[in-house]
């Protein structure tokens, strides 16, 4: 019983656990406070602008960099100290471009590099299947330096996955991909999740985070400013509601009397009205009926929920 209990505890424990991570390059560059957890079988997106500290965070987690302070645990191990033990269970896709450090031999052919990486793991994915899946069979004999940016990205993803990792760190996996390749990548990431892999990906693409991530960690200027599921992050009362335009100075007390419980109305600026926090069909009906009774036309009536983009821009506005 005891053993079984322990096994279960292990299974639910986070695959990646980061606590108060600090790594300074200069007073303004680096990360100053990053904490998050990423479970197995889930996609965790580190979302932030360029230079926010996403890559630094990932590099510490996969043992490429040491933290000044704070703690990172991957599969219960210290990525720096236990690097040799941990590396076989990680798949790392470094960021492309940037410093020009692609991480692949420029004069090696695609199939050669994949075969090399496959040889390092106990039960790698079949290289043929991976080439096929990522639409790389045409370029299998092409050297890395002659590949297009998108092809290099796909090879890089293949290299990260060929060893069948338990934790995959993908640094901007869909940067520079066309629409098809991007969807192939997303599909693979979803399959990884179903297979129980912990996926930590960085992106500055809000749409990508919204459709792909189970949890989003927003990093700005080296610190975590918000985290949660995309639904959590966008479920914020103040920005969800109904808006309409009408002549200024309507008696809003009367309107609130007919609105569902808990709803309120305000004139945001003259002639512009907002009703919230929640909007359902009854609210819309009540507002339009009340306006009709007042003999005014509710113009430009819209209902909206806050997008991840709204949240992101609001949270990261300060440092811009």
């Amino acid at each position: 019983m005891l053993l079984r209990g322990r096994a279960e505890t292990c299974r639910v424990a986070a695959a990646v656990e980061v606590n108060g991570l600090v790594r300074r390059y200069s007073p303004t560059a680096g990360i100053s406070d990053v904490s998050f957890t990423a479970p197995a079988g889930a996609v965790t997106a580190l979302l932030g602008r360029n230079g926010a500290g996403k890559t630094t965070t990932v590099e510490i987690c996969c043992g490429l960099r040491r933290a000044d302070s704070g703690q990172a645990r991957v599969l219960g191990l210290d990525p720096a100290r236990d690097h040799r033990k941990l590396a076989p269970r990680l798949g790392v896709m470094p960021q492309a471009g940037g410093s020009g450090a692609s991480g692949v031999y420029p004069s090696a052919r695609v199939e050669e590099v994949l075969a090399l990486y496959a040889a390092m793991y106990a039960d790698p994915l079949p290289v043929e299947d991976l080439l096929e899946r990522l639409d790389l069979r045409r370029v299998r004999r092409t050297t890395w330096r002659r590949l297009s940016g998108g092809e290099q990205q796909r090879v890089s993803l293949a290299l990260a996955l060929v060893g069948r990792p338990a934790v995959a760190f993908l640094d901007e996996p869909s940067a520079g991909l066309d629409v098809h390749a991007r969807h192939t990548t997303w599909e693979l990431v979803r399959e990884l999740r179903s297979a129980g892999v912990a996926i930590i990906l960085t992106t500055h693409d809000l749409a990508e985070a919204a459709v792909l991530a189970d949890a989003v960690v927003i990093i700005d200027a080296g610190r975590v400013v918000a985290s949660g599921s995309p639904a959590d992050l966008t479920r914020d009362a103040s920005a969800r509601g109904l808006r309409f335009e009408a002549p200024p100075g309507l008696p809003l007390g009367d309107l609130e009397a007919v609105l569902p419980d808990g709803a309120s109305a305000q004139e945001v600026r003259p002639g512009h009205y907002a009703v919230g926090p929640r909007v359902d069909p009854d609210t819309v009906a009540a507002v339009t009926a009340w306006c009709a009774k007042q003999g005014v036309l509710a113009d430009n009536l819209t209902t909206s929920s806050r997008s991840l983009e709204d949240v992101f821009l609001a949270l990261t506005a300060e440092s811009s």
């Binding site: 076989p88 790392v92 004069s107 040889a119 106990a122 899946r133």
Partner: protein, 254 residues
């Protein structure tokens, strides 16, 4: 659409398999690179034929017997030092070493693979040079074990120095520096003319260089059939140990 079984695997392959795959890759890259081949094959062969046939320097006769030991040393230096320094310098610059460090391949495994590839290329070089030498009338003397010993110790020495450069300088600086040192040692390393042509002080200096010690040591064996002088062994060994210590201290993987 191909389905992939993405469930987490069991981790690392047996070390030998990773090492063998890495050695194959290193070897492939060495033999595919045109500049490397120029350096490791074409130049030593061309110099061997040129120095043996053309009356360029006043060297003891038969010319081929004098030239051969220095060319063998030069071949080792070109692969273990110049080629390896430049290749590894650019691998570091392209982030190849960094990315490999996220795989199960250990640093020791990577170094073992690089060394194996260097030794295999050298075997090929020495085989070709000896065949051409034989065709040109070369008649070697002495103990083959001594020759192999000097070549191997020289390989260790030049590898350590090459990796030291590659791991501590920028790739462009390594490229320039490794070529410059190649030319400098080619000039005063006892390849083209005997060190005894130099003034005594210059000669002592040249004998303290790794290539000078190698070619003089090899000449003792191959030309005169006697053992390698102790001071040549010591010179190469000191460079090897100093290079290895410095490389392990200053080599940066990214």
């Amino acid at each position: 659409m191909t389905t992939l079984d993405l469930a987490p695997g069991r981790g690392a392959a047996p070390r030998r398999r990773a090492y063998a795959a890495q050695t194959r890759m290193e070897l492939r890259l060495l033999l595919r690179n045109g500049e490397q081949l120029l350096l490791t094959m074409i130049i030593p062969i061309a110099l061997l034929v040129l120095f043996a046939k053309a009356p360029i320097a006043d060297v003891p006769k038969p010319r081929i017997d004098f030239v051969m030991p220095g060319i063998l040393g030069l071949a080792v230096m070109s692969t273990a030092f110049t080629g390896q320094a430049i290749g590894t310098g650019f691998e570091r610059r392209y982030g190849v070493l960094r990315r490999l460090s996220t795989t199960p391949l250990s640093r020791a495994g990577l170094l073992a693979a690089k060394t194996s590839a260097v030794v295999l290329v050298e075997t090929l070089q020495v085989g070709i040079l000896c065949a051409i030498g034989a065709a040109l009338g070369w008649s070697p003397h002495g103990n083959a074990g001594d020759v192999v010993g000097v070549l191997l110790l020289g390989t260790a020495c030049f590898s350590a120095l090459g990796l030291l450069m590659a791991g501590s300088l920028r790739a462009e600086a390594t490229l320039a520096g490794a070529n410059l040192l190649y030319l400098a040692q080619l000039g005063v390393g006892g390849v083209a003319f005997p060190l005894s042509d130099l003034s005594p002080s210059q000669r002592h200096l040249a004998e303290l260089l790794p290539l000078g010690a190698m070619s003089e040591g090899l000449r003792h064996v191959l030309n005169r059939g006697i053992g390698v002088p102790l001071h040549d062994w010591v010179t190469i060994a000191v460079w090897a140990v100093a290079g290895a210590v410095a490389a392990s201290r200053w080599f940066r993987w990214d």
